[in-house]
Symmetry: C2
Amino acid sequence: MKDVLVLLKENNIKITDERRAILRVLQEAKLPLAPADLFLRLKPSMPKANLTTVYRNLEMLEDLGLVKRLGFNKNYFSYELIDGREHHHHIVCQSCGKVEDLENISEKFVSEIAKQTNFTIEDHNLEFFGLCVICQKEK
Amino acid sequence: MKDVLVLLKENNIKITDERRAILRVLQEAKLPLAPADLFLRLKPSMPKANLTTVYRNLEMLEDLGLVKRLGFNKNYFSYELIDGREHHHHIVCQSCGKVEDLENISEKFVSEIAKQTNFTIEDHNLEFFGLCVICQKEK
DNA sequence: AACTATATTGCAAATGACTTGCATTTGTCA
DNA sequence: TGACAAATGCAAGTCATTTGCAATATAGTT
């Protein structure tokens, strides 16, 4: 968490209560949060939290590369703290909505695509959808 | 294209001028189109085309599995005709926006994820972003 | 501790993609 | 051709997200 504060300072970004709270909630959530959801979780400890500010801060954190925006929901984006985490992807249960992380997706795979297309690959998004173990049993 | 008309009939869906035109434009585009873009391309041959109808028809075509909705643009979805095409993915140039198809992504990859997570995998979205050959040279 | 420059916030209003209600029109099939 | 269900057009609504601007807070500097 130290690194984050340093990075903010380096970018002339002031450390406000709401920012600290947003970072904390993201960290505690351990799952991608939609702005509205983050806002709700912020409220208890920060009654004057403001949804607009949440949006602005998520955008700022994304620009700094501290947060990743994920588009697997139909009507809104979710945001996840990158912190020092490994690059990873997600698998989403289509029945209960649970999100699990996928670590260890081989980079070999990405370089294969680069070779195939001659693109320089800067980023990639891999999303998997299906039924988690619990929801499989409920069928 | 015959199969499409048969499928529509089987679902009590009427074949209207606008539907024929939408299918033709999607087919000619050979790339995913946003509803607004599709609407523009529709206009010349169909001056009374209506954006609401475009939305409604894309949704219907998606429900029938004739069209795939893609979310790699920030503010809107794009739609691509599936027709008889192989399941495939896309790589998007972050500079010029060009979209290329990726065929031959190994299914081995998907089954590996299934084993790792114990999910039943129903769907997946793989998107790659980078610089195409032309835009690499312009740097 | 007060001062200043600049960043941040809060609120209300705007935006823009997409959806919906409903009256009118059109396709299909007997 | 006629009847009925489905499709369309238009206007209005929805909802996530963005923006303008005035008020406030932060972080150096005196």
